[in-house]
């Protein structure tokens, strides 16, 4: 083996199944060795296709896939030293847990004693010793997932590829297995690439979150970057937790600019190089940064914007209350109010309130 490093570089990777439309359209990305990377996007955005190309189950139409400094396009999965965990786990139904896990060693011609010993060690690692002689059909979803993980890990891959690994599990188990995946990744010390369409899963697990839309990467970065500082309207809306507003720039002064519609919103100028009066601009405000004030009351210091709205619905969520407003026509506007704040002076559906936020927390989008 040339290298044990599991760093991955995608350079101009394209994939087209029909020769007309690109399912994956010129993707460039660097994933560090030992990173936990999550691809996230709606179904059909090309995330699974990227995963399958890295795994060697699909060849890119154009571009290079480099793992550990070696271009792997055209190589079989074993030569790439990648392993894949399939969406429904694809455990062999006629083989026991032990035989499933030992399968990769069996096809390599390892002796029966050797491979069963190796399999047993792996079984212990995923805590399935008492189930070693069962068939996949006799296991729960979580146990099946562990078998799939062990079966993939026994090949000592430098990259493990997981295709929606948690989608077959119920809600509670999903959170539990999520932690187990992270634990295994740290234990194995290899690169994990995980495809999901669940935002919470991605930001809970990943060192690197890659948001995709229609075959293109919209934003790639640390979970907190992507969640708190979305580049554009798509990422903001897809990752959630943000209110996106749109308006024309009314005036620009050194440190901030003001949107005309819906009504004077002051937004701090950030890295964005040029903003001119008259531009149509999207901004994002985090839902938990929005405070609700009754009309006529003073705004807290540092809060310059206030938008009137009527309460459409209220959902109690435990530690916060989700208040939906009709502030922006035809679009959602939501405030996450801390439970204690809300119940100190509770609103009811139909109340008119002013939505306000600290000027510094508004974020201009590209």
């Amino acid at each position: 083996m040339k290298s044990d490093r599991g760093d991955i570089e995608l350079a101009g990777v394209c994939k087209s199944f029909d020769g007309v439309t690109n399912v994956v359209d010129g993707v460039n990305l660097r994933i560090d060795d030992g990173a936990y990377c999550c691809f996230i996007g709606p179904s059909g955005c090309g995330k699974t296709t990227i995963l399958r190309m890295i795994a060697g189950h699909e060849d890119p139409t154009a571009g290079e896939i480099v793992i550990g400094g070696q271009n792997v396009v055209g190589l079989a999965p074993v030569q790439r030293r990648t392993a894949m965990m399939f969406q429904s786990y694809a455990l062999f139904p006629h083989l026991t847990v032990r035989e499933n896990i030992a399968f990769a060693l069996r096809v390599r011609g390892q002796s029966k004693a050797d491979r069963l010993r190796a399999a047993d060690a792996m079984i212990e690692k995923v805590r399935l010793t008492q189930f070693a002689d069962r068939l996949p059909a006799q296991l729960s979803g979580g146990q099946q997932q562990r078998v799939a993980l062990a079966r993939a890990a026994i090949t000592e891959p430098r990259v493990l590829l997981l295709d929606e690994p948690l989608s077959a599990l119920d809600e509670q188990l999903r959170v539990q297995m999520r932690q187990e995946l992270r634990r295994m990744q740290q234990e194995l010390g290899i690169t994990f690439i995980h495809v999901t369409h669940t935002q919470l899963e991605a930001i809970a697990l990943a060192d690197l979150v890659v948001v995709m839309e229609q075959g293109k990467i919209k934003q790639a970065g640390a979970a907190r970057d992507v969640y708190a500082h979305p580049h554009d309207r798509y990422v903001a809306e897809f990752m959630g937790g943000q209110n996106v507003l749109s308006g024309r720039v009314e005036k620009v002064n050194g440190a901030s600019f003001t949107l005309a519609a819906p009504s004077g919103i002051e937004v701090p100028l950030q890295a964005r190089p040029t903003i001119n009066v008259g531009d149509q601009v999207d901004i994002a405000v985090r839902r938990d940064d929005v405070a609700l004030v009754r009309p006529g009351r003073d705004l807290p210091p540092g809060y310059t914007t206030s938008l009137p709205g009527r309460v459409l619905a209220i959902e109690y969520q435990g530690y916060f209350v989700k208040v939906m407003l009709d502030t922006v026509p035809d679009d959602e506007f939501v405030a996450y109010v801390p439970e204690k704040t809300f119940f100190a002076d509770p609103f009811t559906v139909g109340d008119v309130v002013m939505a306000t936020w600290a000027t510094g927390s508004a974020l201009p989008l590209a």
Partner: protein, 301 residues
């Protein structure tokens, strides 16, 4: 006899009726709706129509030496079974039975192998796949007698001697292969192709993924294809009639016996061949059960 038969469906249907009545939402309080009795009667009539004629044959084969070809029964003995295998005038039962079994085994092997390969070939769509498929299935539609006649003529035209292991084999395969392929397609449709992908991902070669994953997973289905091949060949008549040559297969022998044998030994032959069929079917089903049981016990381990 009819009393025995009438009892059977009743116990059968009452077993089936039990869970349905517990599920029913209507407040029937244990008593069954009148439709149950109508359907049960219908089912009983159906079973009698299905098995009644065969049981007439089986029962009449156990008469004693005075036995005739019609009811009523005259005595009880195994006389006609002995007669079947000892009297020359009844025909070459043993020889034709031998040939039929050998032919059925050859047909079975070819059917299983070709059907499996066809199943592999049709995993992915390819240009003209529907045409190829309908060409395979087409010979099912052709009348067997005509197809057999054609095969016989073709062999004659080519100057080949028709015999059970050449022309009859070919004619029978034109019947068993399409069936085998159809069954195989049904079996393959339940095979998850991600398993193959997983095997490839784990480093298995194409051969290894066929040997270690596909064949074991599909084993019960392959036994079913074999069973089809065997039974279709074993009692094939129309296609063999003009193609078997000078030596008869068993169905042909029975047919010729109906023309000149007028004793219950004909019925005895019917009973014997039925028993053979049931033994083969039982063995096949037993194999399937055994495969599944083996997996189950391994699992309990």
């Amino acid at each position: 006899m009819s009393a025995v038969l009438a009892d059977m469906p009743k116990t059968e249907t009452s077993k089936m009726g039990a869970p349905a009545s517990t599920k029913a939402i209507a407040p029937s309080k244990g008593s069954r709706p009148w439709t149950f009795y109508v359907l049960a009667t219908l089912f009983a009539a159906y079973v009698i129509a299905l098995y009644g004629p065969m049981f007439c044959i089986y029962i009449l084969s156990f008469q004693d030496i005075r036995g005739g070809l019609v009811f009523p029964m005259k005595g009880q003995s195994l006389h006609w079974f002995v007669d079947l295998f000892t009297q020359v005038r009844t025909g070459d039962v043993k020889g034709s039975f031998d040939r039929s079994i050998k032919l059925a085994v050859i047909v079975t092997i070819i059917t299983v192998v070709v059907s499996f390969l066809a199943g592999l070939g049709f995993r992915k769509r390819f240009r003209g796949d529907t045409v190829v498929f309908y060409m395979m299935i087409g010979s099912l539609v052709a009348p067997g007698l005509v197809l057999g006649l054609g095969t016989g003529l073709l062999f004659q035209a080519l100057g080949l001697n028709a015999s059970w292991y050449t022309s009859a084999l070919g004619a029978q395969l034109s019947w068993t292969l399409p069936f085998g392929v159809l069954v195989m397609f049904a079996v393959m449709s339940r095979f998850n192709h991600v398993w193959e992908e997983a095997a490839y991902d784990l480093g298995a070669s194409r051969w290894q993924s066929i040997w270690l994953v596909m064949i074991p997973v599909l084993a019960p289905g392959l036994v079913a294809v074999a069973l089809f091949g065997f039974t279709l060949s074993y009692d094939e008549f129309a296609r063999s009639l003009q193609t078997a040559g000078s030596l008869n297969t068993l169905p042909l022998e029975i047919w010729s016996m109906t023309l000149n044998v007028t004793s219950p030994s004909l019925y005895a032959l019917g009973t014997v061949t039925t028993v053979v069929s049931f033994v083969v079917i039982g063995a096949s089903l037993g194999t399937i059960v055994l495969i599944q049981k083996k997996r189950g016990s391994q699992a309990k381990g």
